[in-house]
């Protein structure tokens, strides 16, 4: 079981969290402007790297805040302590 570094509550057991997949996939500003292909790419396509991967987590059984973390998918080790970047 992972130990997820919640930036608000500190490290907590993985069972307290929901996983939100790849981070940084913003909702398109104007969905109507996208072709079917571009919309499908937003909807369905995600990276699957071996190594560092920025992903979203939500502390559902804790502070209920969403945040981003970088995790090495080969070792399941989180990079950094989860402190959110400012700016």
């Amino acid at each position: 079981m992972l130990l997820v570094p919640c930036p608000w509550c500190g490290p907590r057991d993985e069972v307290e969290f929901a996983y939100g997949g790849q981070a940084g996939i913003a909702y398109p500003a104007d969905p109507d402007a996208l072709s079917d292909e571009a919309w499908a790419d937003y909807l369905f396509m995600r990276d699957n790297p071996k190594g560092p991967f920025a992903e979203r987590w939500c502390h559902t059984s804790g502070c209920r805040r969403w945040f981003d973390l970088v995790r090495d998918t080969a070792t399941s080790v989180f990079v950094g302590d989860g402190t959110p970047e400012v700016g």
């Binding site: 130990l3 969905p31 079917d36 919309w39 909807l43 939500c58």
Partner: protein, 896 residues
Amino acid sequence: MRRLDAGGAVDRGVRLRFTFDGREQEGLAGDTLASALLANGLGGAFRSPVLGRPRGVMAAGPEEPCAFVELSAPWFDLIAPATMVPLVGGLEATARGGLARLPGADRPARPSRHRHVHVETLVVGAGIAGLRAAREAAGRGDRVLVVDERSWLGGMARSTETVDGLPAWEWVEQAATELRGAAEVTVLRDAAALGVYDAGYVVVHERGGQADRLWHVRAGRVVLATGAHERPIAFAGNDRPGVMLSGAVLTYLDRFGVLPAERALVFTTNDAGYDAARALRSAGALVVAVADVRREAAAQDQARADGFEVLGGTVVAATDGRAAVDAAVVVGPDGARTRLEADLVAVSGGWNPVTQLHRAIGGGLRYAADRSCFVPDGGPAWITPAGAASGEVPAAEPCWYVPADDYAEHFVDLQRDQTVADVADALGAGLRSVEHVKRATFIGTAVDQGRASGALAAEIVNQLLGTDPGAQGPSGARPPWSPAAYHLVGGPFGGALFDPVRETPMHPSHVRRGAVFEDVGQWKRPWYFPRDGESMRDAVLRECAAVRTGVGIIDATTLGKIEVVGPDAAAFLDRMYSNAMSTLRVGRIRYGLMLGLDGMVFDDGVAMRLADDRYLVSTTTGAAARVLDRFEEWLQTEWPHLRVYCTSVTEQWAAVAVAGPRSRELLRAVGTDLDVSREALPFMAWRDGEVAGVPARLARVSFSGELAFEVHVAGWHGLGVWEALLDAGARFGVTPYGTETMHVLRAEKGFVMVGQDTDGTVTADDLGMSWIVNLRKGDFVGRRSLTRSDLVRPDRKQLVGLLPVDPGALLPDGAQLVAAEHADAHSRVPMLGHVTSSYESATLGRTFALALLAGGRDRLGETVYARAPAVGVVGGIAATVTEPIFYDPEGVRRDS
């Protein structure tokens, strides 16, 4: 085999009675079951599982591959190695040849408790290296947990060794006393680390006399001081009772004061064999010879000087004997064969560091040619292998199997009865990978998980393939390290603690009225309310008729309720629902549909506008948490600028739906200060007031198609209002009804149940609900997907009604729909759709169903056939395709 008069860590003053295979036996305090059996001459009392060959105790630890027992008292254990069973008075054990037998009757499981701890340092293995690491950590001020699967501390340390200038056992005693005295240190014996997982999470199984305990440990650092297991060597008859690992011979002599033999032959690849030889001689046994694979070694000269017969460059080729070893054949460097009489062959093929826990969490292995074994290499930074587990084992000459003409009795995995010949067969069939050979032969898959056989099998594969030693390592390791019963893992979390049970405030009344409940998520909801002797069918028909002709009430408390509050609440809900919520006026209610980003129906419910900046939205019972999660996700991650708060109020409100042509009458009878006339409280409006003497919110909504009201009161008034409605309605036959009746009534009206008539692949248009999708109001979740080419295909499955041609035929839920020409085909035929809801209707006096049917809206009037072979409907049931509404299509009844 006999107990010596002195020596060992057993207490000769405390005799323990136990039974083995039904016979009374006696052992000593401090024994394991295996040592007691050896002391009583029963070391060879086992049989192999497949071939039925005699087998005996071979090891003294968890790597034991032969001596398995079932325990029936004082606790039950399906299968355990006798070497790991601490002897207690009253123990009842039965020999098992490595295959467990399921008990005929239920055996009470020992209680299992769970415990969670956090430590800076966890030490697995309390041998010298583990205790050293624990002392160091305790000295730093760490919280420390030390666990060892054996009943004693000190691991394999011999009484004759010295550690830091002290006799080893004295050193262990000192270390243990020091650790036990430290405030933040816990030392557990009989406690096996089952698995090491991410970020220092380790699960430990502590075997207590009366109860098991599962420890969930989160450690900053894990020291794996798990020791090393001695490797056997494959030679003809290496499975005969009397063939033992040399370290086991030493342990039985040194710790248990048991001499396993009178005439011993030692077969070794390393210096460890000489320790066994010396200990055997000191205990009074005759050491016939030491057969040493090595041509020369300093230890050989020393042993010769001490009067041992040492045969350099010599192997043991075979054993002989009926029930046990009585002779062995050695082959010298010149190929000469000599038969030696012996009742023990003490084998040392070298030592394998115990790396399984480490490997399972990503630790690597490196072959150490000098020691002829794999040692840990790399892995998570928070794991430190220590002592023998780190590779501190004696140098050893490689020797995996002894050459012969026939390998049918060169055993590799004794618990699976697999030999070198079986490995050769697997390679002959073309397999090359150790992993494949494992799966072809089952080597390493038995209870002992290949502790003794895994590395040996890999090296035999290497040698047979002509590759270098270590070219392939042992097959992968995974938890649990030792067998873990389900009851252990489940712990106390069975029965009522398995999952929270949610009951509404009205639950006691439902129980009193004999409701049959169904689980909806974690909620208990009344399914139907049978009267004395009434069947479910009769009860549901009666409840349905009551709502259609009189009045019924249903507990609707479980529907999810979320308050959405803030200046941007209206704008936010416009983005979450497919229809506009911002245009809803205060005091009014609107049905809404939520879509996934992919355009599929996600959930539905109604929204009440309580104030300009305040809505109360309802969700389906099962989706309440999902909807709140979704609201919060969009608010936090995409629209943090929207000033909106969402609060779950499901449990704060109890809700009763009052439905039927006499519902208005019932409300007046129970008493309300609200004007409930059609004009004052129209359909889809709500008002705050009093009902049955308590503050209430009264809403005109209908899921049955009848005139209906929902009464919302504070949770603590729920039971009282429910009972008041039943009392007040008694004179006009108010009928409590359950979820089954609710389902039938809504299906008659063609109202879909999200999750029953939809499955995540269904759009609003598929349901014939395009009217609720407002494409002009601006963007909302799922909108862009609605114009994807796949979502506008004309042949998508669409919601239709089905009327079975035989009005008494009930279509099975989930039945597949096929065309007439395929009604009774026995080959694969195109599936046109499936039945999503199917009921018998009191109102219609017949059966009916809802279904998703390809291009269904163009098939009205056609006949399709429902097939469900799994429930015995093989030939199709004919049904006519209709509009998905069977009752009051004009909707006049809800407004009556």
